[in-house]
């Protein structure tokens, strides 16, 4: 299976992401953002600070040539995963609904965080149970997810709300102000995924958790 990780000026998680997919046996390439054609089964938009996050997070990345390839890939029914800054890109691009605001606390949050699986009727979380708790690091200053009530309702109906921040017992914990403590979502087709936490940073026990690898494995065939 071919995985392409798109590298933007300012991305900083592309090597970790490649490492994770390589561990899962994928043929993983890091692709420079100037490429307007990408041949892959899964395109991953990694974390970081694309274009310095000037103007707004991910606002400028939307216009890079690689994004044309991402949109084409998505239109053909291909899989796309956006992690952290990549999630923000998918929102800016309109491939996922909603928008991202600054964390309510105004603080940059960097820590391991329990997450609760809300829906697993999608490939990404297919190896996990609904209600299962995974331990995945978060690292963001703008992870305060927002969408209007109507969209939120539709997303729940379509099982597009995938992950929520929680405590060890599974109770919702709102770490950044996100509506309904949402940490990750997908689109209606369940082929485009976005999440603020970093599964690629939790791929080996030596890193404290390999729950991230379990998540990413769902996307691999």
């Amino acid at each position: 299976m071919k995985v392409a990780v798109v590298l933007f000026p300012g991305s900083n998680c592309e090597v970790d992401t490649k490492y994770a997919f390589d561990l899962l046996g994928c043929d993983t390439q890091i692709v420079w953002h100037k490429e307007d054609k990408i041949d892959a089964d899964l395109i991953v938009l990694p974390g970081g600070f694309s274009y310095g996050d000037y103007l707004r997070t991910a606002a400028i990345a939307k216009f890079s040539p690689a994004m044309k390839a991402v949109v084409e890939h998505a239109k053909k029914g291909g899989y796309v995963l956006g992690i952290c800054n990549g999630f923000q890109m998918l929102l800016e691009l309109g491939l996922l609904p909603g928008a991202m605001r600054r964390n309510e606390s105004m603080s940059f949050i960097s820590k391991y965080q329990p997450l609760k699986v809300v829906a697993n009727s999608n490939k990404f979380l297919s190896n996990l149970e609904v209600g299962e708790i995974v331990n995945i690091p978060v690292a963001h200053g703008e992870g305060n997810y927002f969408t209007d009530d109507k969209t939120l309702k539709e997303m729940y109906q379509n099982e597009q709300v995938l992950l929520k921040y929680c405590d060890e017992k599974g109770n919702d914990v709102n770490i950044n102000g996100s509506i309904d403590s949402i940490a990750g979502i997908c689109d209606k087709s369940k082929k485009i995924f976005g999440l603020m936490p970093h599964p690629e940073r939790a791929c080996e026990k030596i890193l404290n958790s390999d729950d991230g690898l379990k998540m990413l494995k769902g996307l691999v065939w």
């Binding site: 606002a59 939307k62 216009f63 909603g98 928008a99 605001r101 600054r102 105004m106 305060n144 927002f146």
Partner: protein
Amino acid sequence: MKAVINIALKNGVLDPAGKATEHALSSLGFANVSNVRIGKQVVLDIDATDKEEAKKQLKTMCEELLANTVIEDFEIVL
């Protein structure tokens, strides 16, 4: 001509920067301050002779790049 674009979070969308600043102002003793909202301003020169045409272009710029219309409002001053 010079254009000024003011971008701010929509009413009702929580503005954490505004809230933090409001708290800071309050702890400085300005207890009479409320509803602090922090936006951004983009100032640019646009080569155009027709004001309406320039406004149209600026509106497109705002909708496509400068503002995220899901959460932000913009105002164009020419």
